[in-house]
Amino acid sequence: MGNIIDLFHVDFKLLLAQMVNFAIVFAVLYFVALKPLLAAMHERSEKIEKSLSDARRIENRLEEAENEYQAKVGEARREAMAIMEKSQAQAEEKRKEILARAKLEIGQAINEEKEKLRREKAKVLTELKKEAGSLVALSLEKILGGQKQPEFDRRIIDKMKK
């Protein structure tokens, strides 16, 4: 062992000096270069990871929103269809109701008009008969020479009336 130490001139002071030298190398390399570099790399990878997870979360939320939107649109369509069907039914009912009412009103109007016409006709007929009786009486009076025969007139008018 002593021979080896002599042969290679292993010296405790030199060993210590080299150890101190390496310790300084390690300290400088670690604190000045590696620590900040590893920290920057770690920070960047964390940011990338966070961005990726954010992107995944946003994607999920977008998918959820899309699903929700589709569900709401479907629901709205169903509701709209229901409303339309209801409206159609109501409209149909209303139409029928209006038609029925119109028919009724038209029927009433026709009846009223018929009644009115009937009454007008009766009135005209009455007046016409009355006029015709007067005309006949006047004609007979002319024919008979102006003699007044009220009993005869009355019988003639009555016959005319009948």
């Binding site: 290679f8 001139h9 292993v10 060993l15 210590l16 080299q18 390690f26 790399m41």
Partner: protein, 304 residues
């Protein structure tokens, strides 16, 4: 004289020669004459001493390690200024490197959390060893130096030598790696459990408790104790294998390049330099991956 004694003697010679450098200036003519006569360019197994700071002798490999430190400090500061959430080209390059390393680490540790925990230390080993290895290949490293004279012999002492071509550096790195792996082990599974991996006292303690139910513990538990002791020897072997593998490869590379350059300095060393670039990368990877494996093993609760 045995070779180790020769090396030690030469080391002492160099230090003495460096101490006498001032006086050499006064005797410049004499030194120059010796230099002109013969300059020894011998590759030594040890790092040559360059200067003294009090009692401490700084070697050319230590100077190179300081240079690596300076380069790492500059690179770190440069990177620090450019770090942002939106990365530029430089940051992108580093992040790709870090991601690549973490991917490889995951296959060893089995989890990203553990990989991130060990990454700074293992990466520091990697980058320090890589730069040390590669800086040894730069022009001027090992070839620019000074000539010192002692006893009429002129010795060439390079100012720089690859940090990892010195056993002091590789051993220091191995000691840090292995000790830190044990510290992590104690922190992860507890001191008692960690201790029992090497000195299996638990196996001995449980013999009286279990011997009536299972007499086989009389045979099995001493074996467990022995296996623990083998593991302890293995820890020492880790230090030696880590340090000598790295030192051997880098030093052998330097010898190879010096030998090839001695044959023909122009062009011929290029493929070998390229080979050494790859060897430097591979050795840095092996060292750091082994440290990662030790960290992973020591922080696992299973017995090995």
């Amino acid at each position: 004289m045995p070779k180790t004694a020769v090396n030690a003697a030469r080391h002492r010679q160099i230090i003495k020669a460096m101490d006498n450098n001032g006086r050499q200036d006064q005797n410049l003519n004499q030194t120059q004459a010796a230099t002109d006569a013969h300059v020894s360019h011998e590759q030594t197994l040890f790092a040559e001493p360059l200067f003294q700071i009090g009692n401490f002798t700084a070697t050319n490999s230590l100077v190179n390690s300081w240079l690596v430190l300076v380069v790492i400090v500059i690179l770190s500061l440069w990177l620090r200024r450019r770090i942002s959430l939106v990365p530029g080209q430089l940051q992108n390059g580093f992040e790709t490197l870090v991601d690549g390393f973490l991917g490889i680490f995951d296959s060893v540790t089995g989890s990203r959390a553990r990989s991130l925990k060990y990454f700074p230390l293992v990466f520091a080993f990697f980058i320090f060893i890589l730069l040390s290895n590669w800086m040894g290949l730069l022009p001027g490293i090992g070839s620019i130096g000074q000539i010192v004279e002692h006893d009429g012999h002129a010795l060439f002492v390079p100012y720089f030598r690859s940090g990892t071509a010195d056993l002091n550096t590789t051993l220091a790195l191995a000691i840090i790696g292995v000790v830190v792996s044990h510290i992590f082990g104690v922190a992860a599974i507890g001191a008692w459990k960690h201790l029992n991996k090497f000195i299996n006292l638990e196996a001995i303690i449980e013999i009286p408790k279990k011997v009536r139910q299972d007499p086989a513990v009389l045979l099995v538990n001493p074996i467990k104790l022995f296996v623990g002791l083998v593991e302890l020897i293995g820890e020492a072997a880790k230090l030696l294998s880590l340090s000598f593998r790295l030192f051997g490869n880098v030093f052998a590379g330097e010898i190879l390049l010096a030998s090839i350059s001695a044959i023909l300095a122009f062009g011929l060393p290029l493929p070998f330099m390229f080979l050494e670039v790859i060897v430097g990368l591979v050795q840095a990877t092996i060292f750091s991956m082994l440290i990662l494996a030790y960290l992973t093993i020591n922080t696992s609760a299973e017995e090995h």
